[in-house]
């Protein structure tokens, strides 16, 4: 199953006179709703008070992030609840802070928080955020690396 990486590969024909268009953010909520494992998470929705909860903010323009969601979905282990949000919804640092308090300025995606019994125990963005996900879900990082060599090009 690669529903999220398929979304990343989704092409939108640009309108006349332009060379680029991207409607992946608009399609993202429906793709999440098809997932039996992931849940769309709203800005001010509180973390569950019991169990482990992983919140992952992703960019639909990032193949790394979309692949990460596919890997989470395929992993039977890990937090009981996994929430996701599109970082395109975040217009300021405060929007990230509302979701993962103390995360600071997010320079790279994903933006990640991990809660245990309602208490935030880890947060981070970019590479650090990815490591939190790998550890929480027991994902082998090499599963991402093999699919995302930027040097091979197709027409």
């Amino acid at each position: 199953m690669s529903r999220f990486f398929d979304l990343f590969r989704h092409d939108t024909p640009p309108p006349p006179g332009q060379i680029y268009a991207d409607d992946r953010s608009a399609l993202f909520p429906d793709v999440v709703r098809q997932s039996p494992r992931l849940r769309l998470w709203c800005r001010d929705e509180p973390a569950p008070g019991v169990g482990r909860f992983l919140l992952v903010g992703v960019a639909t323009w990032s193949g790394y992030d979309m692949k990460l969601l596919d890997l989470i979905e395929q992993t039977p282990d890990g937090p009981e609840v996994v929430g996701v949000f599109d970082t395109a919804e975040c217009k300021s640092d405060a929007d990230f802070e509302a979701r993962s308090p103390g995360i600071g300025t997010v320079y790279q995606m994903p933006a990640v928080g991990l809660w245990e019994d309602g208490k935030l125990v880890a947060r981070g963005w970019g590479h650090e955020g990815r490591l939190i996900v790998f550890r929480a879900c027991g994902i082998d990082p090499d599963q991402m690396r093999e699919l995302l060599d930027p040097r091979s090009v197709s027409a």
Binding site: F8, Q18, I19, Y20, D22, A59, W61, S62, G63, Y64, A88, C90, K91, S92, D93, D95, F96, G104, T105, V106, Y107, Q108, M109, G126, H127, E128, R130, M144, R145, L148, P150, R151, S152, V153, S154, A155
Partner: protein, 111 residues
């Protein structure tokens, strides 16, 4: 031949990388698989070349670049940090007949 990787972190050996000014902020770190968690200065020390410039004001003359790469970067959107890479700038700086490779696919060949 001039090749530029917009929003690049050194993924392509020998290619000039561009990053916006916020990449010089103390908290910024690379995320490219295989070389994550580095500052711009650390990447430069490894031999990668960088130019720091706003995404919407690239310091390249019209029709002066032969290949533009983008890899996992926001395009034509306003992020919480500022403007992402601009396709209008890509079209401006590309030489006629040359290409833009976006996430490993040829996205555009300039007429």
């Amino acid at each position: 031949m001039l090749a530029v990787n917009l929003g690049g972190e050194g993924e392509f050996p020998g290619v000039l990388n561009q990053q916006p000014p916020w990449a010089l902020n103390p908290g910024w770190r690379s995320t490219t698989l295989g070389n994550p968690g580095k500052t711009i200065r650390e990447l430069e020390a490894e031999g990668h070349q960088f130019i720091i410039a706003p995404n919407d004001q690239l310091p390249f003359a019209d029709e002066s670049v032969d290949v533009v790469y983008t890899n996992g970067v926001p395009i034509d959107v306003l992020t919480h940090l500022g403007p992402g890479v601009q396709s209008s700038e890509i079209r401006r700086i590309l030489n006629p007949g040359r290409i833009w490779i976006d996430d490993r696919r040829v996205r555009y060949r300039k007429p």
